[in-house]
């Protein structure tokens, strides 16, 4: 409505009222109302702070992204936003990087009281990365030897390949050929060991026979013998230290280890 039309309507209303009054006989005027009690000159009540705006945009982010908090407050003496921002100006905006879903609370304090408002930023986990590419086909040399090649055992004071050692070494031969093919740069140490009973000196010679006998047997089965390196440990490195035949048998062996 324009202000011209507004003023015309007011004039018309006044005119109509005056006209109506002129038509009626004037009655005695009523007594005036008692005077209104003199209003106390109280100050106007202080206003409560008004939070005109408190928003988070966007309200949902992925972890690592940011959101913007915007706020506008009037009639406040102190404005805080928790968590993270603390005391702030009455109006403003800030960028936040919440790592988890966070509800921000704006608290406005003023002489007329407090006012609060909240705004939430919903944080969603980013989608997982793609699984790592499958490892290249490099198997562990030491592990291959440990899992696929068994010790060959010997009789006391003997370096002959017994029947059970013959079976073991025949199985070993296939594994050793495959392993040496897969690891063309590697050599394999064939360790000769003895039990604790013979003399240390004689056992060094006996252990040498055991390692060499095992190597020669494997060579006959087609294992590349130049990549099998015998070394005698005599009774220097027992794998079992008890004094009984079970333990001694464990020590009378040819063992296959990664080469030097």
């Amino acid at each position: 409505m324009s202000s011209k039309r507004k003023s015309a309507a007011v004039l018309m209303s006044i005119f109509l009222v005056l006209f109506a009054a002129g038509c009626k006989k004037k009655p005695a005027p009523p007594p005036p109302p008692p005077p209104a009690p003199k209003p106390v000159e109280a100050p106007p009540p202080p206003k409560r702070p008004t939070i005109n705006q408190f928003s988070a945009e966007p309200s949902s982010i992925e972890r690592g992204q940011s959101a913007t908090l915007r706020w506008s407050v009037s009639d406040a003496t102190e404005v805080r936003i928790d968590p993270a921002l603390g005391v702030v100006q009455s109006n403003g905006n800030r960028t936040v990087f919440p790592s988890n879903t966070t509800q921000y609370t704006l608290t406005a304090r003023g002489p007329g009281g407090d006012a609060t408002a909240t705004a939430s930023v919903n944080v969603t986990a980013p989608p997982p990365p793609p699984p790592p590419p499958p490892p290249p086909v490099t198997r562990d040399f030491t592990r291959e030897l440990e899992t696929r090649v068994q010790d060959a055992y010997f009789d006391y004071d003997k370096s002959d390949i017994r029947d059970d050692a013959r079976s073991t070494l025949s199985r070993n031969a296939d594994s050793l050929k495959a392993i040496l093919r897969d690891f063309p740069q590697k050599t394999i140490t064939v360790e000769g060991h003895c039990d604790e009973r013979g003399s240390a000196e004689y056992n060094l010679g006996l252990g040498d026979r055991r390692s060499t006998a095992a190597k020669e047997f494997l060579g006959q089965l087609g294992v590349p013998a130049d990549r099998l390196k015998p070394v005698s440990y005599g009774k220097e490195r027992p794998q079992c230290t008890e004094t009984n035949e079970t333990c001694w048998q464990k020590n009378r062996r040819a063992h296959f280890a990664p080469g030097q």
Partner: protein, 456 residues
């Protein structure tokens, strides 16, 4: 220790062979031993605190020499002479009562205090210590107390100097004991060394020590496994086996400079168990160059080596006799390892042991007639004991009897003592004993200690 000598006179040599023979021990440590009285020496002033060390060292050296029967201290007279002037010859008897023998009149300490019962000594060592300036001065005498007077009794009268300390007291005690031992034809072990293998640092290294177990010092630092040490007869070189190169091979070091000397190992999976010829001009060793570990002899730098055994068996531990000419060694050619003897070129090899058990670790006596070795004869496999054998007659005797495993016996330069390894106290340790099996002493305690050799 009284031992009966088996009567073998007239017995056929064949019957005598391989029979236990206790006379072998008599040969080495037997004979009538002088009875030696060694009262405690006293010290004046600052020497006094060190006298207990002195007395213990002197007594131990003399007792362990095995040359003497030590007179019991509890029988000693109360008046102990400290110097020749303390002796007072008794006066001749003035009058003899009827029916009683004339008794000399005692004036003070006298030779007969020691020669007659209850002491019954043939010899007396006495003296005292004092300080002079910053030195400990030990005055020591050795008397033959069977003599009629002091001047004819004196065999040794000497002063020994050392620092005023426990170490000084030990030094003068060792020197005085060495003079006494020499007086009776013995050889002091004072300046000899025992080399051995110890794992106390975490890896097996060569160590050395004095014959009483003192001054234990690390010689090698290869942080690998060292084993089978051998020292040249003149004590200037040590050869041993080591895994420092990965596979077992021989290294040689000078004992004078400590430096490594050149030795070229053959291209074999194992080269080990070195032994010098007595003149130090050749080195024998065992090598798998041709297959089984066989014996070789060559120059000490590894050049011009020749194979001297031709068997399909393990041949090891070559030990050349002290005067040269013979090698004792260990071979598996007839079954279990046994001790053999042959000429320097490998000719006329003969088995010395019976074939029973395992026989191993032969070591020549300095006289070239006896060997000591380890044998499991009469025991479970691996339960070695120390034996002696006369290589000409092949008669043997046994020195240990199942007190743990007793291996690697090696003669001392004096020909009366043996160093060996035994696990009788737990782990393997180095022990010494007199060659009759007495005076057994443990020299090492730290870690496991094996393969002793006794060098000049």
């Amino acid at each position: 220790m009284k031992r009966t000598i088996p009567c073998i006179l007239g017995a056929a040599a064949g019957l005598a062979a391989l029979l236990p023979a206790q006379d072998i021990i008599e040969k080495v440590v037997g004979g009538t031993r002088p009875v030696l009285a060694v009262p405690d020496f006293r010290g004046a002033g600052e020497a006094a605190p060190h006298m207990s060390v002195f007395n213990a060292t002197l007594y131990a050296d003399l007792d362990n020499s095995g040359l003497f029967k030590m007179a019991a201290k509890s029988m000693f007279p109360l008046e102990v002479p400290q110097r020749p002037e303390d002796f007072r010859p008794p006066l001749a008897p003035l009058t003899a009562k009827k029916g009683a023998a004339a008794q000399p009149v005692r004036q003070g300490p006298w030779l007969t205090d020691w020669s007659q019962p209850p002491v019954g000594a043939s010899h007396l060592a006495f003296g005292y210590a004092a300080t002079q300036g910053d030195q400990l001065v030990l005055s020591g005498w050795l008397y033959d107390v069977s003599q009629p007077n002091v001047s004819s009794a004196q065999l040794i009268g000497k002063r020994y100097l050392g620092p005023v300390s426990a170490a000084g007291a030990k030094t003068v005690a060792h020197e005085f004991a060495a003079d006494i031992i020499k007086q009776f034809g013995g050889e002091t072990l004072l300046n000899s060394k025992i080399y051995f293998i110890s794992d106390r640092t975490g890896s097996k290294e060569v160590w050395s020590m004095d014959p009483d177990g003192s001054s234990q010092n690390q010689f090698t630092s290869y942080k690998s496994t060292c084993t089978t040490p051998a020292v040249s007869l003149d004590g200037t070189k040590i050869a041993f086996t080591t895994y420092a190169r990965g596979i077992p091979g021989i290294f040689i070091h000078s004992l004078e400079t400590g430096r490594r000397l050149p030795f070229v190992n053959p291209q074999a999976t194992i080269t080990y168990s070195p032994g010098f010829t007595p003149d130090g001009q050749k080195l024998l060793y065992s090598s798998s160059l041709s297959g089984y570990a066989q014996l070789y002899i060559g120059n000490p730098d590894g050049s011009q080596s020749q194979r001297i055994t031709q068997t399909r068996a393990v041949e090891t531990e070559p030990k050349v006799s002290p005067k040269g000419g013979s090698i004792v060694f260990v071979s598996g050619r007839s079954g279990t390892p046994q001790v053999y003897m042959m000429g320097m070129d490998g000719s006329s090899a003969e088995r010395l042991t019976s074939g029973e058990g395992d026989a191993t670790n032969p070591s020549w006596h300095p006289n070239g007639q006896l060997i000591a070795f380890a044998w499991s004869r009469g025991f479970e496999p691996g339960k070695f004991n120390v034996f002696l054998m006369d290589v000409a007659s092949r008669r043997y005797d046994q020195l240990t009897h199942g007190e743990g495993k007793n291996e690697n016996p090696v003669w001392a330069p004096d020909g009366r003592h043996i160093v060996f390894q035994s696990n009788r106290s737990g782990r393997s340790q180095i022990w010494t004993m007199l060659a009759d099996g007495t005076k057994v002493q443990q020299l090492t305690t730290q870690g496991s200690n094996t393969m002793p050799v006794w060098a000049k």
